[in-house]
Chain length 355, copies 2
Amino acid sequence: MIKTLPVGATIGILGGGQLGRMLAVAASRLGLRVHIFEPGANPPAGDVSHRVTTASYDDHAALTAFGRSVDVITYEFENIPTSALDLLETLAPIHPGRQALATSQDRLTEKTFLQGLGLQTAPFADVPDAIALGAAMDSIGAPAILKTRRMGYDGKGQARIMVAADATAAFADMQGAPAILEGFVNFSHEISIIGARGQDGSVACYDPGENVHQSGILRTTKVPANLTASQRTDAVLIAARVLNALDYVGVMGVELFVTSTGLIVNEFAPRVHNSGHWTQNGCHICQFEQHIRAIAGWPLGDGSRHADVTMENLIGDDMNKLVEYAKTDAAIHLYGKSDIKPGRKMGHVNRIVRT
Amino acid sequence: MIKTLPVGATIGILGGGQLGRMLAVAASRLGLRVHIFEPGANPPAGDVSHRVTTASYDDHAALTAFGRSVDVITYEFENIPTSALDLLETLAPIHPGRQALATSQDRLTEKTFLQGLGLQTAPFADVPDAIALGAAMDSIGAPAILKTRRMGYDGKGQARIMVAADATAAFADMQGAPAILEGFVNFSHEISIIGARGQDGSVACYDPGENVHQSGILRTTKVPANLTASQRTDAVLIAARVLNALDYVGVMGVELFVTSTGLIVNEFAPRVHNSGHWTQNGCHICQFEQHIRAIAGWPLGDGSRHADVTMENLIGDDMNKLVEYAKTDAAIHLYGKSDIKPGRKMGHVNRIVRT
């Protein structure tokens, strides 16, 4: 039976960054309160949440108090320690579920899972240790990318192998962590699709966006993406297959490479996604509210697109351009971070093209 | 010189109801924090604010601490005691300013001010006491409405006088409060215009909305309103005249009656307004963000309308209809109030018609 959270119920969010902040705002629209659990001080999400617990993920007393104070638990990043989840799942439902988290936390598990669904991925090989590296290089060839299986984000924990001789140095960069070797994919551009699945099993996807990265960090997403009608359909079918296979509840971001032989899945993130921020100004129900609706047992909302949008991240001293953006018709979304640091995501801007 | 509030600065809001709640959400988009001052416990705005002070308006120690903790002060309702404002204005700028507040707090001052600007109002007469009532009735005639000069909202503090013989009973209803007698206006419908003025003196208005009231409480607002092009222009000119005359900073709602002899000003509210809630889904910058932009010294945002919208208030047990709304493409905005009471504004719904 689906339990719809009533007005005044509390959503627990693991992580207090900008995704948690925008989830909290969306929760408020549905009359729900938010309790943030975050190890770092002054989390961006704390400004708009009913309650914040500042504690580490191995503080079991704090986790227990947090779990008891909330009606459902979600998260804004995927690298949550298993021990914390083991404890929390005894206290409140966790959405998206453990399987989605376990699968996406490990690149090897993720790619194996995706291939098992009949989806295309980059060629890959397991590199548990230095001995396996040679066989992996023989199988995949150069150029390739060596990545740690776990804890990678924004281009960290990765090393490119342009020629076979680079392999040993690349493996040393992994500092002994189990790794995966991925072959290069010859793609024309990257897109992502933001999909949602409700507790009733219904699936709704947003129009795919086209992403441009710089130094491993998302720079812009634009909708509509440059895609044929059948590629657009394929993207939706891929997202739906992943969502259904995981019996998923919530919003997921799936990154796809567009190639001459079809769409290749890069990875998925079991959470709201930077490449879905455009939905805040291009749709009547944004990805953040869609996620809250799903985990709170509401019907999924109408995510149809009413405008063309370009989302641009404000990274580091992009913040100096803010005054210029403020004079245009761009919609500005800041994260409340006072300290500007290189590579730090400070906010984003949605520029709307009326259609 | 215009001081633009930097990321991490704090806006103080007097009042913690739904307007404060939605202002707090808008402030977060601009990287600003909110501190709510509210006498009542568990205010709706508290769920999405960095800080809440629960204290009465005559608690000068609490007011002082509040005023010192914020960079600018605004309010979500107009009946703030003068003594509180006297204290607060020594600690931080208050926007909109004292003149706007003093004018709108008193129906007699407000109507006198509006007529002084050359704007049409209902005929009115001052009724300071029982003796003045007779002369006022002679001047205005029946039917008429007797209203307290101060502290009226949602139809409270008002009595209709259908025939002259009702006048004495109506005056008794005022319980000795100074009153104003207003003549009936023969209008076809009521509209309101939400205008904003920035610290640089720039003015921006939203498209006027058409309002329907029930039992003195706003029921629905729809845009576009039923107006001729010249009536639409008149509405903007009226709002601009009021904003400029008060050297206003922030968002204002102006209620207008549409009559065969032009637009008649009913009243203005020096704050974001229930009849402007449609802007959350019909515009890229809503009235709440527009208000925050103005008081924070930002340029005013683009308030152009991209859709036709009908806003419907969820009042009392309208909340029972929520599950039906959730299944449609309506955008839902709840205020986090758990207790359903007759006449209580629990939330609103914006239904979008794509244009």
